[in-house]
Structures are given as structure tokens and as C-alpha cells.
Subunit: 204 residues, 2 copies
DNA sequence: AAATATACTGAACACGTGTTCAGTTTTGAG
DNA sequence: CTCAAAACTGAACACGTGTTCAGTATATTT
């Protein structure tokens, strides 16, 4: 049989694992299945990845890296464009990689991914906060606690991903935009020039 | 050994299972562990619940029922009070039953709970939509598509639960309220009397 | 061609799981 | 007390898992 060499095999294993984890989740993805799909034997997997967790962890790391690379350039855009781009990125990602994202939610408390997750969360919140700050400087957004607001926004976005995964927003871009229209309701809270920028109805 | 009778045993099993599922998740909760904690033998579990999934499903059903019973009375309150009460209910629940909720997120796509989940989601969204409608009638909220907005609100609340589970909002009520202050930003989008009620910045 | 390094194999191991069921113990009515 | 119904037991079964490692095949160097 032909050989792929160290680098080639690593790649095959990762690809096979990504597909399988997405299709059947962490627990139901066995090393054996990964081996079969990668066209390698069980032992070979362990030549490249010490154990199942390590393999999964590597996959997760790459996924987060890819997503960050996708959203990072938004920093340069105009605040409103950046924000809408961010929302689109999140929803697109949830649509295109639904299975994988669903799996990540499932395995949300795997000990091994906590540090990766924390770093990712922090960087995303930082990005949002930066967008907000820029918006305030440019007098597009009203004054606010950017870090706290970014945090809330971030988790609302994650909530919308859950919605997408539940199939509540429909699959096509059209349906998604339709469903998101009410979120201008959300944005209006950010837009300046429609009210004063005092403390607002903090105590409801 | 003393016996508990049919009803008593059922209860013991459910309690033990609830604790264990919360502590260790679905996969790592074994029937054996449930049996030990319930003070019964493995076989007895199967006398009352056909299999592991059925046991979990029953638990999940009760949990949703309990939560619904908690939020349903809010329907009678004033819209603003109802909305704030809803937010509190969600966060309180996430704090007090963190482990269990975390587990539910983890097992979010177990086939067996999909119908239960759908019914629960629908009823919660209906509740929110009703609150919004009442608010509009009472001229507290601006005009809007209540069903769509309710959907968005619901998923944002779920996102906040994720935040709570990630430990981002802190554990104490104080910390939670602090963290939620930026959400008046969210509410301001709902409040009338600060702008016209046109279509808004739909296209960003 | 021989020797060494690299890439790969897959049977075997130890363990843990959900589930079953023949058998035992307790209960309570007649 | 008698005895059937109800409650309960836990060893055994079949299966699937992550992981290991002695051994084999290919590539590269000498």
C-alpha cells in the first residue's frame, strides 16, 4: 500500500476525525472509525495523536483559529458594517458547519478545551468591545460600558447560534435575514441620536 | 431490607438519577451508579424504567414542567415586571441548577427529547410574545412583530444562560444584576416614547 | 546490497457499559 | 398459617471502547 508520510497522514486523520465528530459527536466517534475513514490502522492514529482527547483538542483549536481569522478583519470596517458582519459570520458559521457547532455545544464542558475556549471568548469579546468603542468615537453609538455590553452581545450571538441549530431560523440566507429583522430592535439600543445617553431604565 | 413500594422506589430512582446526571452528564451516569445511590439493585431500575433513555426523558420532562410552572404566572403581571421576572427566572435557574442545565445543553440533540423541547420552546416563546403584546396594548412597548421578537428574545435569554454557565456573570445575585445592567440597552429597544415606531434601520 | 530509519499494522488486553432474567424475599389478603 | 402477588436481586451476557506493542513493510542512506 502507498504511504502518505508523516504530514499527509496527520492531515488525513484530522479530516476524517472532523467529519466523524461532526456527524456523530465525541462519544460516538471511535478511533476505529477514524482509522477506517482515514484509510489507516488504529495504531497509526496513536503514532500522531497521543489519545482521543488530544486529537479532538487539536481539531477544536484549528476551528477556533479559523473562526477568529474570519472575524478579525472586521476590526478595520466601519462600526455598523463590522457589527452586521459579525452577526453574519456567526450565523453563516452555524449554518455551514451546523453539525460541528452542534457537537461543540454538546461537548461544551470537556475539561481539555476550557483554556482554548476562554481565550477564544475573550478575544471575541475584545473584538466586539473594540467595535463598540470605535462606534462611540465616531458618534454612531451612544455612550456605554463597552466591555459589559460586548459580553452581553457575545452571549446573545451564541444564543442565536443555538436558535439556528434548533432549526428555528430556517436554512437559507433569506429566512435568516427575515428572522433577524427584529434584531434591529436590538441595534436601536446601540444607535445614538434618538435619545439622550443617560443611565436609562436601569431598575426596570 | 425495608421496601419502599412502587411509588417510593420510582421517586428514589428519579432523585438519584437527577443528581448523577447533573454531576456527571448523560454518558458517565451509569445505571449501576443510579442503583447504588437509590439504594436499589440494577434490576429494579429496569422494573420502573424501560431503559436509560426513558429514565432521562422522564427527568427532563419534569424539569421543563417545573420551569414552565415557574414562569407561567408572569403572564398576569404588568409587562415590564413580567419581562424582568422572566429574565430573573432564567438566570436564577441557571445559577441554582447549573449542573443540570449544563447537562441539558450538553445533551441538546438527544433524539428522545426533541418533541419535549419543541413544545417547551414554543410555550416559552408564546409567553414572551403575549407579554410583548400586552405591553404594546398598554403603550409601554413600541409596535413590533411580537412573534419574531419573542423568538429573538428567547434565544438571547438562552445565550445568557450559557454565559452564566461559563461563569462569566458571577454567582451571586449582586454580580448578576451588575452584569445585566447593560441589558437595559436591550430593553430600551423595546420601550416606546423615545422615538417613532417606524420600520427602523432594518438594512443596517 | 546491506543497514538503518521511518511508517504502518491489527490482534490482543483490560475495562466498562446497558440490559436480562431465573431466582429470592417481603407483603398482605383470605 | 398459607400462598400468591408484588418488589427486589445481582451474576451473567454480549458488546464496544481506548490503548498498546511486537511485528511487518516501505523508504532512505551508506
Amino acid at each position: 500500500m502507498k504511504r502518505r508520510g508523516s504530514a499527509g497522514s496527520r492531515k488525513c486523520i484530522l479530516e476524517a476525525a472532523e467529519q466523524l465528530f461532526a456527524e456523530t459527536g465525541y462519544a460516538d466517534t471511535t478511533i476505529r472509525k477514524v482509522a477506517v475513514r482515514a484509510g489507516l490502522s488504529v495504531g497509526t492514529i496513536y503514532l500522531y495523536y497521543g489519545n482521543k482527547e488530544e486529537l479532538y483538542s487539536e481539531l477544536f483549536r484549528r476551528q477556533l483559529e479559523g473562526f477568529s481569522a474570519m472575524t478579525e478583519p472586521l476590526r478595520e470596517k466601519e462600526p455598523l458594517v463590522a457589527l452586521s458582519g459579525l452577526i453574519d459570520s456567526y450565523l453563516d458559521y452555524a449554518v455551514k458547519r451546523a453539525k460541528l457547532v452542534s457537537m461543540q455545544m454538546k461537548e461544551h464542558d470537556l475539561e481539555i478545551k476550557k483554556p482554548l475556549k476562554k481565550a477564544f471568548f475573550d478575544s471575541q469579546k475584545k473584538l466586539i468591545a473594540d467595535i463598540l468603542e470605535k462606534g462611540i468615537r465616531k458618534k454612531v453609538f451612544r455612550k456605554m460600558d463597552c466591555r459589559a455590553t460586548a459580553s452581553v452581545l457575545f452571549y446573545c450571538l451564541r444564543g442565536m447560534i443555538l436558535a439556528q441549530l434548533s432549526g428555528d431560523l430556517g436554512d437559507d440566507a433569506q429566512g435568516r435575514l427575515e428572522a433577524w429583522k427584529p434584531c434591529d430592535l436590538f441595534l436601536r439600543g446601540l444607535l445614538r441620536d434618538r435619545r439622550g445617553h443617560g443611565e436609562g431604565c436601569t431598575k426596570l
